[in-house]
Symmetry: none
Subunit: 192 residues, 4 copies
DNA sequence: AATGAATGAGGATTCATTCAT
DNA sequence: GATGAATGAATCCTCATTCAT
């Protein structure tokens, strides 16, 4: 029973299903059929809307990135000083909307996907660029030339915590946040 | 051209080929045939020696872990003070034997494999436990109760750098080492 | 050329093809591809509808059994006295619908399959139980306590004739029927 | 450690192992490797002695037939009258040496093999011919022209009991013998 | 819009067979 | 005589993708 205006609903359902399936499988070895079934549609429809499996995956990656960006933006909106802004970025990174097992699993898998997919690599570069520029922008005033290295450390620490904590059964966003905030303190206090 | 005592040679060749293929593909979507071909044998032989694809993958993971362990051990052998030991562990982590694109790619893929394979999860746990205990052992004297969190940060930073730098075309082990050593300084100097 | 409601048609075609292939090969060493090709579909479709080779085989066995059962039922419908009923069961066993080379070959192969497949064993048990109870029910009035042994003999004779005559190029159902009817006479006349 | 005069020992061991494996698997889907392993030799040796898998199978079939023949011969040696001879043949058919689960399973499988192997068909024909002529020879004096049909019935009954009883976990040769002897009585008493 | 039918390529795995030693 | 190394063909099965309806 085809209906009008179903497209955005179907796309969203399929993207959610994709992330859920990846989270469930722990890998990108996910079949279009399973994704479609979880979304409550036929596999044919998934192709109809997205074109192919790769496009579904990319769309899901884009979605994860968008949610993350929005989280960062909304956190940043309430920050005023550089220090607050930095902490906002960190907190956003481990906010519940991102730091759920399924999402993290999908996210890490997309990280790897970037090794074999140009489009995924491009998306990943955008994420990295944004995180880096966010950190850098607010570290430069305090740290000057040592800001890039410090930003790199914080960024890597965040990614590392995704890898280490995000993949566990019950990731603790607050604990992860605390770890990074402490590292941030170190970076900002211990100036060269 | 059957010869005697080929088993260890074949196994080593197949494991190397596995890592190379994973590195090349950037994922675990690697066929046994390709691995075998790269190792210069038939796919049947790969099964003969390992039993199945999963076993090949696990054997490769075990190999990566073993190489890493040996690198750490050999670095630790030349260290005396706790600080030297900590730096040794860090340096070992980014030593050329581990920090090659292929190896890092394989390593990160194994990290993910642990999400869907119990055996891989077990191996990963061993790695994590060892790294953690190495760091902890030499941080405790200086940091006391805040050692665990500090160790966690350093470990996550290392993993994050694997993810961020190791997957690039030409990973720079020295740069990564420098980043962690600085973080280590922060941790050790800025005591609570 | 996808159409709707093809499932029952495909299933039937695949089951027929399975029996024909088994008959042709004389063994269960039949590939799914050949079955599918004979049925005019791809091998993928065979899996799609049945799940796997074993399921195809079992479905074919079930089909053979069902055809047999229906033959017996339709023969029994026209019988009134115990003697007529017994003869009806015998005649049904060698009716053309069952006693065709392909079918008999498949049947005997299924007999053996029961040695290695629990599900096949279960199906076989049903067949045996039914044949036995049919014979027993109509022998008991005449033979009393010696009915079970007599029924066993008739049942074994039927199976033996399947083995001996059914596997020949041109099985003669009438001859086989005559042999069993004579044995039946012996059983019923020569009472203890 | 090659030794001299091992051939007959190896051949016998391999044939025994073949029958055991077929009995165990319940089908001819038995690998040469398993047969060889059970016989305590390498798979290469099995080929060396027999040429190929088919030859191993046929050798095993021949062996089963030979054992059966010898059993019949030895039973016949002690019989004098036609009736005794007939009973001797029946008893031989269910003697422990033939009527063991493994052997019966192999035997029935060989029966089927005859459908796809000319050589197996030839061997089977020999068995049938011998059984038939044994029965016929001693029935003709009593039954005259109806001897062939009677012999056919007894032979089919024997085969049917192989199929029905021989494949069960604990075949009861005595029970099977009793069933056939009773049928034999019927045949001989109830003359036309 | 949506489905289910259908395909076919690709991959893991098994195994008979061969051969150097 | 005997082994184990090695191959490659064969087979089951999965799955992305296409298409008529």
């Amino acid at each position: 029973m085809p209906k009008l205006g179903m497209e955005p609903i179907r796309r969203a359902a399929l993207i959610d299903a994709t992330i859920a399936e990846i989270g469930h499988a722990g890998s990108l070895d996910v079949t279009v059929s399973r994704i479609a079934k979880r979304a409550g549609v036929s596999s044919g429809l998934a192709h109809h809307y997205f074109g192919g499996k790769d496009d579904i995956l990319l769309a899901a990656m884009r979605h994860v990135l968008r949610v993350y960006s929005e989280e960062v933006r909304s956190h940043l909106a309430q920050a005023t000083t550089p220090g607050e802004r930095l902490r906002a970025v960190v907190r956003a990174s481990f906010a519940p909307s991102n730091f759920q097992p399924h999402t993290v699993s999908a996210w890490v898998n997309f990280y790897l996907l970037a090794l074999s997919s140009d489009q995924a690599a491009r998306l990943l570069r955008v994420y990295r660029g944004r995180l880096r520029s966010n950190l850098l922008h607010d570290m430069r005033p305090t740290l000057g030339d040592s800001a890039p290295a410090a930003a790199e450390r914080i960024a890597a620490l965040i990614d590392g915590l995704y890898l280490r904590h995000g993949l566990s059964d019950a990731p603790d966003g607050d604990a992860a946040t605390a770890l990074v905030l402490t590292a941030l303190d170190h970076e900002l206090k211990v100036q060269p």
